[in-house]
Symmetry: C2
Subunit: 158 residues, 2 copies
Amino acid sequence: MKVIIRKGRKSDMPSALRLINELAVFEKEPNAVEVRLEDLETDGFGETPLFECYVAELDDKIVGMALFYPRYSTWKGPTIHLEDLIVQADKRQLKIGGKLYKKVIEHAYNLGVKRIEWNVLDWNTPAVDFYKSTGANVMNEWCNVQMDQKAMKTFLDK
Amino acid sequence: MKVIIRKGRKSDMPSALRLINELAVFEKEPNAVEVRLEDLETDGFGETPLFECYVAELDDKIVGMALFYPRYSTWKGPTIHLEDLIVQADKRQLKIGGKLYKKVIEHAYNLGVKRIEWNVLDWNTPAVDFYKSTGANVMNEWCNVQMDQKAMKTFLDK
């Protein structure tokens, strides 16, 4: 069994979308994924890529992905945001997630950014424990706030 | 008293840094700001700007700022992240924060992004209540996770 971690390509996006949908089910939002294959292809591999990713290949099949993009901290400067770290459900316990995680951190460190950051659901205890064991700082006093297009329009029309 | 909301310029960055430091004190991390004036000038107004901002001018002085940049959701597509919304302490109660907030939401809506998102400290009740009153979804089941350069190196060296 050989796991290969490599940069994600446009041709990997069907597998990426499958993993994204799997994560949405795990996070109890099975209908939340509106992104289509062509969006991922354009957004990640167009003239101005909005994200990059690493994929994990096992026996020539993609079984995991780490997707990230740059952010900016007004306290620290440029950072990297890890948006998704996903391993196919039946391929967990093979330490594939750990390999993808390390690759992204290595990449961020080599870029020289001051910080890498991400989010985790507070009930996802295995993930929280894993992140803490690697030296990451898991903060629960910050709330995430979101306003979708419909709410934006309602607010602006008031 | 006339408040002008306009796009932030490179020459506004000294005022921006003053406001950023003020916010760090308010958020109980007075020593957290490592960014220098020249960083803000380069990062925001170089060849590949890492952020944009709006500023609020009152009597020709900058008293507020909203700083934002693009992010990407693998569920929704392109989004805007509002990193900082700051109004000078002695100029609150003048609804300047609300004007800056509306301007950013309008900008995000006009760009066609699917979502605007940001973070708020759970003990900052006035801010949480304000965001909720505008139709934003304040979620407390997500934790923010961060790993700084030192922790990255420690992890990678293991």
